[in-house]
């Protein structure tokens, strides 16, 4: 099975104190530590497991600036066979539709049976997977938390539904799936993997290579524009419990008792 996994380089929330910049248009990006979007690791792990079971290959692709190369390389060290970076000045400032557009062009250059994305990104809107599927006119399933290859034409996927229920679907290939965390346990990158990919050249495709008119993507093509970015004021009545975990639990129980939540 030929699988393409779309991955994104995002600020690492476990490493940074995220601050909002002065003019309130974005976060302060100057000194951030970046890593692979958490959800994407699950998607890559799933792809590697499918490949190991039924054969084929895994390609990772990222839309981003030249620094995004490091996340592509990292996912290759994890076990993906190929990596592609989609990078062009014209891509900067793309909205979700723009990103999906760029990815669509890359998907059409290859012969993929399956395209995976993360269910969402730390700093995203969870929209790229769905849009990409629509643009390709491929079937789509979101929030996938189990996946089973039936044959080379169909797969079976489980989806998380509100209220803790699960739904099973059969889907025709090719299709796009957005992957939920918990579907597997992403492997760690070992030294052998790192050494394997250390000196591999990762191809970069720009607007020209993909046959994309620059105006249709990037800032000029974006129809969703961010107009403000801020931390909401704390509302009245909210209380943040402090102390050790045990203390917090104790206080919480007390509060619940006091307010009639538990008896």
């Amino acid at each position: 099975m030929e699988i393409l996994v779309c991955v994104k380089r995002v600020p690492d929330t476990s490493e940074n104190e995220i601050e909002i910049n002065k003019d309130g248009s974005d976060i302060e990006r100057d000194d951030l530590v970046y890593s692979v979007n958490e959800w994407d690791n699950y998607a890559v792990e799933e792809a590697i497991q499918i490949r190991d079971n039924v054969g084929g290959s895994v390609t990772v692709v990222s839309v981003g600036d030249e620094d995004a190369e490091e996340v592509v390389r990292r996912e290759m060290a994890m076990g993906a066979d190929k990596g592609i970076l989609l990078s062009d000045n014209a891509f900067e400032g793309s909205d979700g539709r723009g990103i999906a557009n760029i990815l669509k062009a890359e998907v059409e250059k290859g012969k993929y049976d399956l395209v995976l994305t993360g269910a969402q990104a730390d700093d995203g809107a969870g929209q790229v997977g769905g849009m990409l599927a629509a643009m390709l006119d491929w079937p789509y399933a979101s929030l996938v938390n189990s996946l089973e290859v039936v044959d080379d034409k169909t797969i079976k996927v489980g989806r998380e539904i509100a209220g803790g229920n699960l739904e099973m679907n059969e889907i025709d290939l090719p299709c796009v799936l957005s992957i939920q965390t918990g579907i597997n346990e992403p492997r760690y990158v070992g030294i052998r993997g790192i050494r394997k990919v250390a000196s591999i050249d990762i191809p970069v495709h720009g607007a020209g290579d993909l046959g994309i008119t620059p105006e249709s993507v990037g800032e000029s093509g974006a129809k969703v524009k961010r107009i403000d970015y801020f931390t909401p004021e704390l509302g009245e009545g909210a209380e943040i419990l402090e102390g050790s975990t045990d203390e917090i639990i104790e206080k919480l129980i007390e509060l619940l008792k006091a307010k009639g939540g538990i008896k």
Binding site: S14, D30, E70, R74, A77, R187, V189, G190, I191
Partner: protein, 604 residues
């Protein structure tokens, strides 16, 4: 700051800006290790350390190891962590590819270990000792021994230990009595009792390979009669299959102050007369083999202590930013002034900057020694190789003895900054202080390290290694002098280096004179002042790099980091180095009270 092991920016600074490890990739041996690869390795080590190993630190301390019916179980959480370390091939990073190592520069493996060891060093002792034991086999083993053991060890499938200590043979390994008798098939029957054996018995691996120091029957007394043997817990047949249990019995484990997750075993060898081993290296050359391996083992103990300090600093600085207590000193009289975070109090800042300066200086020193190890490997000329080897030899007692002493002090400051909470088990400093303490004792007590510096290293090769080290310091001072703002600091460090030269000459002469007892009473202070001056050198070197970066213009957080480097150097040179100069004067006086006092006069 969300992970509490090591300052990521500082690790990057030492690797890329201070030591420029990428230079190593110009040599064929390390060609693979370009900046991208180095960064990826260190990042993945961090990732693994934070997500998988750090959570085992507290669990390992609380649960400890259990001894039941001759079997030892390690804390439950260690099993998964060990599998992941094995899978990722983190066991033998700097060892040769041929035998399952990763051929990594030592300095890079130290940076990765900064996170891994920092996340839980009691746990990391299992793979760490395995690597060390494997290294002995690689250096001294026959082809057959390597074939049977090495790959299994460097890949972590089997683990390793080091069996030196006996009840009557601690610091003086030469006093050991474990004996070996040669059998007709070329193996040796071993019998004796060893104590305090780290990772001596556990349930993490199928087999445990013990390098054992023992005396062959009839061999000379003392260190000249000691040989090294390989004694597997389960015998390994010639075809590599596992044979019978080898009469290596764990008879008990210790209850300890710290590192509860790493088991400390009493081991009886040949209690039933059925313990066999094979000779590793030559008969009666066991101590020589140990000496060759000692540098690296001591550097790793230095790293263990250091990572406790690094972690303690991370916790303390974070706590000091959050803990509100007391008014700002300048608003003491204002009844309505709010409480401020304790990081605003001068006395707390004094402790924090003390911790910061030591942690930074120690990190640079440890990585620098690692880089010297790499230079020994890649330098072409015998002269250069010898130079770096000499510098390593002189710096090892500092990197072990001085570093672990100061690391403990740093942990202690950290605990103090937490106030009462520091003394409470629910907060992390209490464990760090306990865990750190043993690093001052094992792998040669720090007293023994000081004697090594004075007795062996100072006069090594007619003093050339010491001169080479002073030469390196001079070069850094000269570079600092080029920068207007650092001139004063550079001059003060120069004065201290000159003083160290004077103290070194004096100590060398005293140790060879009738005053030898007095001289050795000052071995420890001599190690301490040498260490202080090495710290001053490293901090000045860092400040020089930082000043250049600031001159070129740095981004916001980077600028704060570089300014912090200038302040560490300034603090150390102005607030700590003067006491070092005083200690140097005390050494030069070499007062004899400590050795002249009558034993009875100690009272007690």
């Amino acid at each position: 700051m969300a992970q509490f092991i090591a300052d990521r920016r500082d690790i990057e600074f030492v690797l890329h800006e201070q030591l420029q490890v990428e230079k190593l990739s110009k040599h064929e041996r390390f060609a693979e290790f370009n900046k991208k690869t180095v960064d990826m390795i260190v990042n993945e080590a961090r990732n693994l350390a934070v997500k998988e190993i750090l959570p085992t630190q507290l669990l390992g301390d609380q649960e400890g190891c259990k001894f039941e019916n001759g079997k030892v179980t390690v804390p439950e959480s260690f099993h998964r962590a060990y599998e992941i370390i094995k899978e990722g091939e983190w066991v033998a990073m700097p060892e040769s590819l041929e035998w399952g190592g990763q051929g990594m520069p030592m300095v890079v493996s130290l940076a990765a270990s900064d996170y891994l060891v920092g996340a839980n060093y009691a746990f990391m002792m299992y793979p760490g000792l395995t690597q060390g034991a494997g290294k002995l086999i690689e250096a001294f083993g026959t082809d057959k021994q390597k074939e049977l053991f090495l790959k299994k060890m460097f890949t972590g499938e089997w683990t390793g230990t080091m069996l030196l200590t006996e009840p009557e043979a601690g610091s003086d390994v030469g006093a050991l009595t474990t004996s070996a008798v040669k059998n007709s098939d070329g193996t040796y029957s071993i019998s004796g009792s060893k104590i305090f054996i780290s990772s001596g018995e556990h349930d993490l691996a199928e087999n445990i390979i013990h390098p054992v120091l023992a005396r062959i029957e009839g061999a000379p007394a003392g260190t000249k009669g000691i040989s090294l043997f390989l004694v597997p817990k389960i015998w390994v047949n010639d075809d590599g299959s596992l044979g019978e249990f080898n009469d290596v019995v764990c008879t008990g484990i210790e209850e300890k102050m710290g590192i509860h997750g790493n088991v400390t075993c009493s081991i009886s060898l040949g209690g039933k007369g059925e313990c066999k081993g094979t000779l590793l290296g030559e008969e009666n050359k066991g101590m020589r083999a140990m000496f060759l391996m000692m540098n690296e083992a001591r550097l790793l103990v230095g790293l263990q202590g250091f990572t406790c300090a690094s972690t303690a600093y991370m916790y303390a600085v974070n706590y000091a930013r959050q803990r509100l207590q007391g008014k700002h000193l300048l608003k003491m009289r204002d009844e309505n002034a709010p409480s401020v975070p304790i990081i605003q109090h001068p006395d707390v800042r004094r402790q924090l900057i003390t911790m910061k300066a030591y942690v930074e200086g120690m990190r640079s020193l440890i990585y620098y020694v690692g880089m010297c190890e790499d230079n020994v490997k890649v330098e072409k000329s015998a002269k250069e190789k010898e130079k770096y080897q000499g510098i390593i030899d002189v710096l090892i007692p500092i990197a072990k003895g001085y570093v672990t002493d100061k690391a403990f002090e740093v942990c202690n400051h950290g605990l103090q900054i937490y106030g009462g909470y520091g003394y409470i088990k629910e907060y992390p400093l209490e464990q760090l202080v306990r865990d750190c303490r043993i690093t001052m004792i094992y792998e040669g007590t720090n007293g023994i390290q000081a004697m090594d510096l004075l007795g062996r290293k100072l006069g090594l090769n007619k003093g050339k290694p010491v001169m080479d080290l002073l030469g390196e310091m001079q070069a850094s001072i000269a570079a600092a002098r080029e920068i207007e703002d650092l001139k004063e600091l550079a001059d003060l460090v120069q004065e201290a280096v000159n003083k160290l030269g004077e103290v070194g000459l004096h100590m060398g002469a005293s140790a060879m004179s009738p005053d030898v007892m007095k001289a050795f009473a000052f071995a420890y202070p001599f190690m301490e002042v040498t260490g202080d001056i090495v710290m001053a050198w490293m901090l000045l070197w860092r400040a020089t790099v930082a000043a250049h970066k600031l001159e070129k213009g740095a981004r916001k957080k980077d600028a704060a980091f570089y300014e912090g480097q200038l302040k560490s150097a300034e603090f150390f040179v102005h607030s700590i180095l003067p006491t070092t100069m005083g200690k140097c004067n005390a050494i030069l006086t070499t007062n004899g009270a400590a050795v002249e006092i009558m034993e009875d006069s100690f009272g007690g």
